[in-house]
Amino acid sequence: MIFLFLTSGLFLGWTLGANDAANVFGSAVGSRMVSFTRAAVTASVFVILGAVLQGSGAAGTLGRLGSVNAMGGAFTVALAAGLTVYAMTRAGLPVSTTQAIVGAIIGWNFFTGNAVDTGALTQIVTTWVTGPVLGALFAFGLYHLVKISRRRIKVHLLKYENWLRMGLMVVGAFGAYSLGANNIANVMGVFVPSIPLESADFGIFTLTGAQQLFFLGAVAISAGVLTYSRKVMETVGSNLLELSSEAAFVVVLSQALVLFIFSSSALSGFMVRIGLPPIPLVPVSSTQVVVGSVLGIGLYKGIRNVNLKLLGSIASGWITTPVAAGILSFLLLFFVRNLFGIDVGHAVSPLSAGGAGANTSTIIRYSIPVLLLITAVYLVYLVLSEKKKTERLNKKYYE
């Protein structure tokens, strides 16, 4: 019975693997720098490792947003998110699994009469903005670093390409690990409270109940990578991101870093130890972080390269996806409970709201203004340097 309820989560995992693996290895495979088989096997292995070893942080935050306390409810919430992603992808609209699952959980909260934890919600929504912005900042800085290094080391182009090939494999593995660590919460997070499995002792290591669920979800993601991501990697991967090999390397590394930051309990703990506010452990949309990173490279190459449509598509996704998933989740929960008589959950905290207010407000108080300031400084710098850059590029070789 548990497996039957888990199918919607596994389906969600499969779609995530089929689509989001292209964010990690798409540009490398699309440009034929890395073969699909090598990319798929690496992605599969590291997604599982990331999910099992580091998936609990982001899942915890989703749990605070709405602790779905019945298997029927978890099944319906995951199904609503999966269907939203599927329908919006078919309609060609920008969509993110992360935002869909958040919307679906809020739909469950409304349906069961649970109050929405505004602290957790603010924390999550904040990272939707900071994720792509951080991706852009990382990409800008890293690309600058790569370009400077290339100029200094004077390595032969063929040797450099060899390094990039190996680099793409390494950062791809790191990206897949971070994707598993961060996005497993989207796939299995809602099932954790309703399916309390006992810890499994394998002698040399023990898997908690949540880790067992994450393992199953990660296997579904891997299945998506192995069975359906080839087409996405070879077509969408190269079409969406027409990047040079070094730009692809930077984009994947930036995305991996952002996803890692928002899923690493150790890093968050370290921040607290050195007297800084903790990093919110929240699932972020890998696609939007990739788009942010591509925009960062666009900014580096000149502000005219920034496609404002991409920014618009990110912003529209923040609203349309959760709203659509929330409404669908509410409607599906209604039918599942009233038509099939399945328990979809009950109210736990109808009146209490705002659990993580202190941490969240600290984060917002520090991170948003800092990021906005850095972005503003970058923009001013870029606008000022634009003219100089254009002049340099247009300079004729001879009079």
């Binding site: 720098m33 100029r151 390595v155 182009l157 063929l158 040797k159 090939r165 090999s245 590029l393 001879y398």
Partner: protein
């Protein structure tokens, strides 16, 4: 990965060898023209045989480089441009060989008053091609230096055009003792020597745009 490392190392050696071949070919061409104009037949024959070998070697190298780049998926994003560049560079040694062969087959009559001009034209046209090679080498190691290295190519190409124009003008306006057939023949030969610098300019244009894209 080790396979890639080995292939890439071998390929970079072959690319350098290809550049060496083109460079030597251009030097041989210049010497060949000098020998012909000075009437040193044995030296001319010797240069003709050498350039023939070098052209064959360049063709073989070009094909093997292209083949390895495709088979081992090396530089997938720049590959088509690089292959075009190699083709354009090969065109330089092809034209040089063809020019010397035309001198050998057609044995054009070079008036003594034009000997110096012919040697100078071959020199300056060859210089355009010679200056291209350091720029092409720089593309692989220091793409930011390509632009400044290409300045000389464009300079020599312009000088070649000027020299060829003056020579054609002299032949048709001043050398009235030559027959129309001889004048037309000299014009044709001049044009052929001039086309080496044109090929160098075409390759330079490609190299410039490739280098800019590398730097962005």
């Amino acid at each position: 990965m080790s396979l890639f490392t080995r292939t890439n190392r071998e390929l970079s050696i072959r690319i350098d060898e290809f550049f060496d071949t083109i460079e030597i070919g251009v030097l041989i061409f210049k010497e060949g023209i000098k020998a012909y104009v000075n009437g040193d037949d044995s030296a001319f024959q010797n240069h003709l045989a050498k350039i023939d070998d070098l052209e064959g070697k360049a063709d073989k190298l070009q094909r093997s480089i292209e083949n390895d780049m495709i088979v081992h998926s090396i530089l997938p994003q720049q590959r088509s441009e690089l292959i075009k560049l190699l083709w354009q560079l090969d065109e330089i040694i092809d034209t040089s060989k063809q020019s010397l062969n035309e001198f050998y087959i057609e044995m054009p009559h070079i008036p003594s008053s034009m000997s110096h001009e012919f040697i100078s034209l071959a020199e300056v046209s060859g210089n355009a091609a010679e200056e291209l090679i350091p720029a092409a080498r720089a593309f692989f190691r220091e793409p930011h230096l390509v632009r400044e290295k290409l300045i000389k190519v464009y300079f020599f190409e312009r000088e070649t055009d000027k020299a060829a124009f003056q020579m054609k003008k002299k032949v048709f306006h001043e050398l009235n003792d030559l027959s129309l057939a001889e004048k037309a023949h000299i014009r044709y030969i001049t044009h052929h020597i001039e086309s080496i610098s044109d090929s160098a300019q075409a390759a330079a244009d490609m190299l410039a745009s490739m280098a800019i894209r590398q730097m962005l």
